[in-house]
Symmetry: C2
Subunit: 235 residues, 2 copies
DNA sequence: CGCCCTTTTGAAGAAAATCAAGGGCAGTGG
DNA sequence: CCACTGCCCTTGATTTTCTTCAAAAGGGCG
């Protein structure tokens, strides 16, 4: 297990020199695996670590006063969280493993030592944070029609997982249950089911047994009005 | 016209020394006033400025493919935007003056020179950005019931404008039209009208002629399940 | 006074939630 | 090997929420 997904993500947004890449790759870390549906990081924790997802999916989970929940973002391999600790009291939401999930814990002091040596890395961190914000804004913008929102979510995840892939077909592991999709788009699981049926009927996307099949990426993107520009990945 | 609201906002989140305060206050800037409903900063602009709202309200406006719009955040006096320019190509959304609005333009190089002299200021900037993110997550979390969402918006704006105020009554200028409230909470203006009527009937809030009256802040907060903790203001 | 913009109110329709009941499938235990 | 059980997924019927369409009422300003 290595930090490779993390390094890859950062160099996808910024040009990194050989020495920057090796400094990042050499960061000491402890990998920890969390079982599906268990908390990877708890709300209120005040970590002195930078957490980096190495394998599997995690999600930011916010809880409503009535107990219902909402996913406000996905952490895919290479994504990180925890920098807030440099200025914040505590994490204001929990992070849950959406599939079996391996997370690296990097000591924040170590990490900042590396960051302080490189303007490029610092910029990559900022950019990651700004992209997160852009995704949140897109979730707000996009919450008009449930079928489209689900389609847009599929497009987002696909674009983030397969940034460089220019082919038009996809077939990949998608570990979310319908209930979790509902938590992410803000609709009930029953309604998710119907929207999935709609997408299936239209031949745009099929989700069976944790496997998502997109026969025509461009068609799905058109349906969802998805334009990957807001993710700011250089292709 | 001075940068006072900006300095006040930063020192509300972080302890600033006398010299840090004066360094910020001494930043050269050009104030520019934008009329209501006009763009303060256009989408796609690649500013070399930090923009700071001095007076009035501005809003981040995202536009959907069908032309309808959504406000994804408010910029109140003291709030800033434009740091994205340090690593991003271009602003991916527009900023509109929601009331007559005076914005200071500070040269980014000047600003960064000051930031680089002070860890505290750097932390304050990060914290502001993280709070923005927390607000976005709250908007997602909170979009269940229209009446509550409107109530929550009132609470958010009030908490941000009157951070230190511990009294329980409010009566302040609220320049948004019902249509803009709708753009912010994601419902039609017609429905905003009905939700306002509901809040009025319950005696929780009255919005007449751009003036918002909250007879009992605690009661409104309870109705909206509003807890200002996520805004991370030290009181 | 008349015009335009915003708010208000009504009625009908669409979208999604809720309530409720089956169905498939994997894992477990007899 | 088969029945049992639990977890999702699926489907139907009903109700609630919000949108859409439409029209009228108030208010500021030339």
């Amino acid at each position: 297990m290595s930090l490779q997904p993390f390094v890859a993500k950062l160099s996808a947004s910024v040009d990194l020199s050989q020495s920057e890449v090796s400094a990042l790759s050499a960061l000491p870390f402890i990998a920890k695996t969390t079982a599906q549906d268990r908390n990877a990081i708890s709300k209120g924790e005040r970590p002195t670590f930078l957490y980096v997802v190495l394998e599997g999916w995690a999600g930011r989970y916010d809880v409503r006063p009535d107990g219902s929940r909402r996913i406000t973002g996905f952490l895919l391999p290479g994504d990180f969280c925890g920098i807030h600790a440099t200025c914040y009291a505590a994490l204001d939401h929990g992070i849950t493993a959406l599939s079996t999930c391996t997370v690296a814990r990097i000591d924040l002091a170590d990490f900042q030592a590396v960051v302080s040596t490189s303007r490029s890395i610092e910029r990559a961190i900022w950019q990651a944070k700004l992209t997160e914000e852009a995704i949140l804004r897109m979730w707000l913008l996009n919450s008009v029609d449930a079928a489209r929102t689900v389609a847009h979510l599929f497009c987002e995840i696909d674009a983030r997982l397969h940034a460089g892939d220019s082919t038009n077909k996809r077939n990949f592991h998608f570990p979310l249950k319908q209930e979790q999709i509902g938590d992410a788009v803000g609709i009930t699981p029953v309604h998710v089911n119907r929207m999935l049926a709609t997408l299936r009927r239209k031949g745009l996307a099929t989700l069976v047994k944790r496997t998502l099949t997109i026969p025509d990426v461009q068609a799905l993107r058109k349906e969802a009005s998805f334009d990957p520009a807001y993710l700011h990945t250089r292709s």
